[in-house]
């Protein structure tokens, strides 16, 4: 049960955030918004880490951040060369990439209900993001 509460809170916070970001990128470059976001997020999450459990500095984990930065930057470049109407729906496929990797490498259960759920998910993101 608690995992669904976490997910609901995550969606609520991030959904509201995307609304704010949409306003910000009208006047600022996305990477500048990212800089200010990360400048607050890094120390804040450090506090969350210290409160929630053990802190182990493992430098190789910084690659997660580099990958995160690269994926967002590539998406912003795609937006500058194309448009959100075209790049947005393709971006929505990332949820499918994660799920397929989960099925293949983590042997997570797969059935018709999950496949249909994923298809409706991709379709909904395609339909809702296309016009923005």
């Amino acid at each position: 049960m608690i995992e669904w509460v976490y997910l609901l809170l995550a969606v609520s916070f991030m959904g509201f955030n995307s609304f704010i970001v949409k306003k910000l990128v009208k006047t600022l470059k996305p990477n500048v918004v990212m800089l200010y976001q990360f400048a607050l997020a890094a120390p804040l999450v450090l506090v969350y880490t210290l409160v929630s459990g053990d802190f182990v500095f493992e430098p190789s984990l910084l690659l997660i951040g580099v990958t995160y930065f690269l994926s967002l930057t590539f998406f912003y470049i795609a937006l500058s060369k194309g448009s959100l109407t075209r790049a947005g729906p393709v971006w929505s496929l990332s949820l499918l990439v994660t799920a397929v990797l989960g099925f293949i490498f983590l042997l997570e259960p797969i059935n018709l209900k999950i496949i249909l759920g994923l298809l409706f998910g991709v379709l909904s993101v395609f339909l809702l993001r296309g016009d923005n």
Binding site: L24, N31, F74, K81, W91
Partner: protein
């Protein structure tokens, strides 16, 4: 390179990143992983904006909104990383993506008075079906 190549690289990186987090949550504190993500991201973005010589000046209101955004996204991701430790990634990832898009549409409709077109209504129906199928 054209826009499609860039967005394809972004999709593969993003999809693989979220997938890679799942097994790592079994070894490390999920919130520590998020901290390392932000630290690595911060170092990368600082280098990028300095090399590209972006104008970093920002109005007071924009700074406030950026900081609020930083709080929301980092706190939201903290909850998300705690959730993916406990849920299959093939369920948590789509539910999170669809939920965010659904909220965007809701905020757009309520606060920005965006039109509720047939396409948007179909999108909302699909997203509700997705969440029902994946969570029940």
């Amino acid at each position: 390179m054209d826009w499609f190549t860039y967005v394809l690289m972004a999709v593969l990186l993003q999809g693989t990143l979220v997938f890679a987090i799942k097994p790592l949550t079994g070894i490390f504190n999920p919130v520590l992983l998020l901290f390392m993500q932000y630290l690595g991201g911060l170092i990368s973005v600082v280098i990028y904006v300095l090399v590209k010589k972006f104008n970093l000046s920002i109005k007071k209101r924009e700074l406030k909104l950026s900081l609020v955004s930083g709080f929301l996204v980092s706190t939201g991701l903290t909850f998300y990383y705690m959730a993916i430790k406990l849920l299959p990634i093939s369920i948590a990832s789509p539910v999170q993506s669809v939920g965010i898009i659904l909220m965007q549409s809701f905020f757009g409709f309520v606060f920005l008075k965006e039109k509720l077109t047939k396409k948007v209504v179909m999108g909302i129906v699909c997203s509700i079906l997705c969440i029902i199928l994946l969570t029940i």
